[in-house]
Symmetry: C2
Subunit: 224 residues, 2 copies
DNA sequence: CGTCACATTGAACCTCTTCAAGCGCCGTGG
DNA sequence: CCACGGCGCTTGAAGAGGTTCAATGTGACG
C-alpha cells in the first residue's frame, strides 16, 4: 500500500464553528428566477442551518460549499438523508415544519429565500411552477440515491463518486467537500469501509487520491 | 418452528395477466381536486403501466391495489424505487420522460390524469400548487425510505410494516398486496431474509401471519 | 514539539447472502 | 378424482462481505 505523499490544499478539514456571519441584506432583487433573490449568508464548517421541527418558512440555495440533511429522531448512528452542492436547492419537503435538520459540511454560502417573498411576487404562478420543478428534481435525486443504497459497498462508493462528478460540472478531479464520516453516513457504510474501498480503487488505478478531500477519476467510463 | 396452517384468502398470489380492461371513459369531471378527474382503469397482476423512457404526459393515482416503480437500466437484480398504495399519486418525477417503469403488484384500479388536462383548466394555478404538494409528499416518502435503507435487516422489515400500517388507515391487520420478492427488492434484501425475519418476529409474537399476504401487528408500539 | 481530528490499515466477528432442499396451495389434465 | 407441475414461501447450512475493535499514520495548529 503506497504511502500517500499528501499535499493538502486549502480545503483543510478543520472545525472552525464560529457564529454565522450574515452578509448585509441587499434590496429585494427584481430578478426573474428564484435564485439570487437575496444575498448569500456565510456559514462555517459544521454549522446548523435549520433543525427538524423548525417552522419551514424558507427555502435555501447553496451558493458554494456543501450541506447535509439528516434525521435526529431516530437514535443511534447518524444517518444522512441528502447532500446538496453549489447550485442545489433544499428545504423543499413541504409541510409546515422541517422533517430533517440541515448543516454545512464545510464552509459555505447559502441563499435563504422566504416562501412568503416568493408568493408575494406578481409572477408568483411562475414561482410555484419553478418550485415544482425544483422539488421534482430533488425527488429524482432521492430516488436515484435509493437505488444506490440497494447495492454493495463498492458500487455505492463508485456511484457516489460518479454522482459527485456529474454535479461538479463533469470534471475528472472532484472536491468532496466533506469528511469520510459524512460519506459513510450518506452511503450507509462505515468510515473504514469507505476508506478501504477508496484505497482499493486507487490501488487498481481507477482513481487517484491527491488528498483525502480530492479524488481524480482516472477513467470515469470504466467505473460502470 | 410451528408449521403454519395457512388458510388462504382470496388474495391468492397467482399470475393472471389478462390484458388491461379499460373502464368506459366518463365525461370529464368538474370536480375541484386533481383526483377523480377520470374513471379508473383496471389492471391485472404484474401488468405494466408505463415504462422508463416513455413520454411522461400523465400522472397517476392508485384507486385500489398497489403499484411498484423500478429501474431497468441497471442490470442485475431488480430494484424497486417506490411502492404506491390506494390514494397515492405517482409519476410525479417531472421531466419529459419517465425515469422509472411502473407495474401493478396485484390487481389494481388506476386513475390516469393527463397533464394537459390539468393545465387546461381555469383553476390551473391551484392545480400546479396541488401538484407541488403531491410531489413534496412523494419526496418526503422517498427520504424516509432512504433512512430505512441505512439500517439493518430487521429494522428494515419492521419499518416497512409500520409504514404499510400507517398507509393502510392504521389498522393492526394489514394487507401486503405484494409478494416477498417485491418486499425484498424494495428493502434491498433477499426473499429469504425477509421470510426469516418475518418468521422470527412471529416466533417472538410481535406479529402474526394468518397468510403470506396478511400481517397482524400484535403490538405496534413495541416494534420501535 | 505535542496534541487533536481525520484517515488508513489489520484481524476477528457477525450479519446477510448464496445455494439447496422441502412444503403448501392451486390449476390443469390424465 | 387424484396426480402432476408451477409458483410462492419457508427453512437449513456454508460462504462472502461489511462491521467492529484496535492500532498506526498524517497533516494542521497552538
Amino acid at each position: 500500500m503506497p504511502l500517500r505523499t499528501t499535499v493538502s490544499g486549502n480545503e483543510t478539514p478543520r472545525l472552525r464553528a464560529r457564529g454565522r456571519r450574515a452578509t448585509p441584506e441587499s434590496p429585494v432583487s427584481t430578478a426573474r428566477s428564484i435564485d439570487s433573490m437575496s444575498a448569500p449568508t456565510s456559514y462555517g464548517r459544521n454549522e446548523p442551518i435549520f433543525f427538524e421541527g423548525d417552522p419551514a418558512d424558507s427555502i435555501y440555495k447553496v451558493e458554494s460549499g456543501c450541506v447535509r440533511t439528516y434525521n435526529t429522531l431516530d437514535s443511534g448512528p447518524r444517518q444522512l438523508v441528502s447532500l446538496y452542492l453549489a447550485g442545489d436547492f433544499f428545504g423543499l419537503e413541504g409541510g409546515d415544519h422541517h422533517v430533517v435538520s440541515a448543516e454545512t459540511t464545510t464552509a459555505s454560502k447559502i441563499h435563504v429565500i422566504k416562501r412568503r417573498a416568493l408568493m408575494a411576487r406578481k409572477d408568483n404562478a411562475a414561482m410555484i411552477r419553478n418550485l415544482l420543478d425544483l422539488t421534482a428534481k430533488d425527488l429524482r435525486r432521492a430516488q436515484r440515491h435509493n437505488l444506490l443504497l440497494l447495492k454493495g459497498a463498492q458500487e455505492r462508493v463508485i456511484g457516489f463518486l460518479l454522482d459527485m462528478q456529474e454535479r461538479e460540472h463533469g470534471q475528472n478531479e472532484i472536491a468532496l467537500h466533506m469528511t469520510r464520516r459524512d460519506i459513510a453516513d450518506y452511503l450507509g457504510l462505515t468510515i473504514e469501509t469507505v476508506s478501504r474501498t477508496l484505497s482499493r480503487l486507487e490501488s487498481e488505478s481507477a482513481i487517484s487520491l491527491p488528498s483525502p478531500w480530492r479524488v481524480v477519476l482516472n477513467d470515469p467510463g470504466m467505473l460502470n
